[in-house]
Symmetry: C2
Subunit: 336 residues, 2 copies
DNA sequence: TTGTAGGCGTTATCAT
DNA sequence: ATGATAACGCCTACAA
């Protein structure tokens, strides 16, 4: 590789000292605009690009943010990366992405090693790492600024970006009510996930608001297709069979559809089925699922934005709640 | 953040000079093994982690590799990243990942800026960037070591890791022919992806070999489910409806299955559908897709390995070809 | 408004 | 086999 263009080259060409160039680079005040112009010109003429390592070594910022994940879902990871990268690009920062080990204390070790070695200014921590108590504690102890994406528990120490599970569940329920359904079954999510409770209470709130009998059938699920299938069978073999079933996630909704097929029920003509998440399976299953879209890209974009504010010492809200979206597909229809 | 542990701390604890610590860090010869042990001990006792920026500033290596992509497929990108990261982890190197703009000369600018700023030692260039002539030329001019993943033209200047798209497509087509299909529709991949052409020509070669009418219906797709759906609709509403459709990737094949369902066609009894890639979606759709397993992860792993050899000055083969595999599932069957 | 000197944490060079 | 010292390219602190 040829000798790199340095700040000295720029300074020489613009006829100023390197300190002045540095000021222009960092948008610092105290440079006459005419001088600033000359420097800018020199920079682009030489297509000078400041060395990130040199900056992070000399300054107290590295202009590098980090993103850690330990997630098996390609689509989710891809969206998260894209959102965070886009925000960083806007701010002329770089993003260092790392996939981490998710078994035990290796996680903490993994992340801290990355932070130490790369000198990132801060971290976007994505689920499930964002709910890893050990990791969170370790980061707080190190005073590494970080923003959590969709954490289970919203602590007050680090900012979090979330969506409104309760409100979304309410909207979905209202959609079903609007279609004329009076008996709506609910499949609750995994008991360990806080979002499960939120989604159920959204469901119940909508029913209450509609003045509907609160005694609607509810089954416990565990967020996988198999538990959705079982719950579906139980709900659909009741004497007072519901005309719609709202499952707390898409996988369970897919299970419910299977149960309906077993029993010879047509979806959505005889049974409406609704999911939650808008994961890949939602558009693959037949009929495609009416569901709630979690704005993954936007959440990551926002998280990176908050992190930027955070490392620049600005105040940021503890919780940022982004809008979800009701996605209408073919699994829901008029009540029979 | 608390004061970082530096090489001086380690040197002090081990009772040696920082140069000796540096030698141990870099596995350089000329250190008594007893001394080496003491240093190693000090390193782990202090959980010292050398600063990447400092190393890249001082040395002629940064211990950082880069990976660039400009690809809309989440699954592909995810696999590529995972493979390259794993290889880097093995070699105790870090990987800097960047998504690039894919419009015109911005691409070159984007990549070069990244290289300059981060000081990466070399680059893994993934498709479609690996076939971007301008970019390749620019990288060669800069003398940036790089390895290309699945490039369309295999040049001699930079090493390439490929699979045999043409041969694989031929095998798949032969599979369909063996099942007795005589009218086979083809959904071509994204026009910017070099593999698209190769897959099509493999398809056509097999037909020619079978002495079949070459005038089989072909539709253009864009590697996503939506374009597969559209292409499927067009193919399946022809008067001379094909009994099998071979889509250039799994996402589009999933779209074709949707189209079939819309039209009330049973897969595979009335229509066989074949995909390519063996991505996640292939085993999620119903029926599960017969497809070609592209060893994406392994290819990226290999590419990173070659790059490591390259930056260390070792000789590497110009072309590394990895084996694909025909995966038979339930979406293909006897011609009706 | 601009410039000078010193240092960030490591590797390279040249001693010893 | 080991160490002292000068880079690397930039920013911080202070001076002019």
């Amino acid at each position: 590789m040829m000798a790199r263009t340095t700040i000295d080259d720029v300074a020489a060409r613009a006829g100023v000292s390197i300190k002045t160039v540095s000021r222009v680079l960092n948008d610092e005040p105290g440079v006459r605009s005419e001088t600033r112009g000359r420097v800018r010109e020199a920079i682009s003429a030489l297509s000078y690009r400041p060395s990130l390592p040199a900056r992070s070594l000399a300054g107290r910022r590295s202009n590098l943010l980090g993103l850690v994940y330990a997630n098996p879902s390609a689509n989710y990871v891809f969206d998260v990366q894209s959102g965070a990268m886009a925000r960083c690009r806007d701010a002329h920062l770089r993003l260092f992405i790392q996939s981490c080990n998710d078994r035990g204390d290796e996680t903490v070790e993994d992340v801290l090693a990355m932070v130490d070695q790369t000198h990132v200014d801060g971290l976007v921590v994505t689920p499930p790492l964002s709910s890893d108590a050990e990791l969170i504690a370790a980061l707080e102890e190190r005073r590494v600024p970080f923003v959590r994406l969709a954490p289970d528990v919203v602590g007050t120490r680090s900012p979090a970006v979330v969506m409104d599970d309760e409100e979304a569940a309410r909207e979905m329920t209202e959609h079903l009510l609007a279609l004329g359904h009076k008996r709506i079954g609910f499949v609750e999510g995994h008991p360990d996930h806080p979002s499960s409770r939120l989604r159920r209470s959204g469901f119940e709130a909508a029913l209450a608001l509609a003045g509907l009998d609160e005694d609607q059938p509810v089954e416990q699920g565990h967020n996988d297709v198999a538990s959705g299938l079982k719950a579906g069978r139980r709900l659909l073999t009741r004497v007072d069979r519901p005309t719609a079933i709202f499952a707390s996630n898409d996988d369970m909704a897919a299970g419910v559809i299977q149960a309906a097929r077993e029993l010879g029920l047509d979806v959505p003509r005889q049974l409406s089925v609704a999911g939650f998440d808008d994961s890949q399976i939602a558009s693959i299953v037949w009929p495609a699922l009416t569901t709630i879209r979690q704005p993954t890209y936007d959440m990551a974009f926002a998280a990176a934005g908050l992190l930027i504010d955070l490392v620049r010492g600005r105040q940021v809200p503890a919780v940022t709640r982004l809008d979800h979206q009701l996605v209408l597909r073919n699994s829901t229809g008029e009540a029979p």
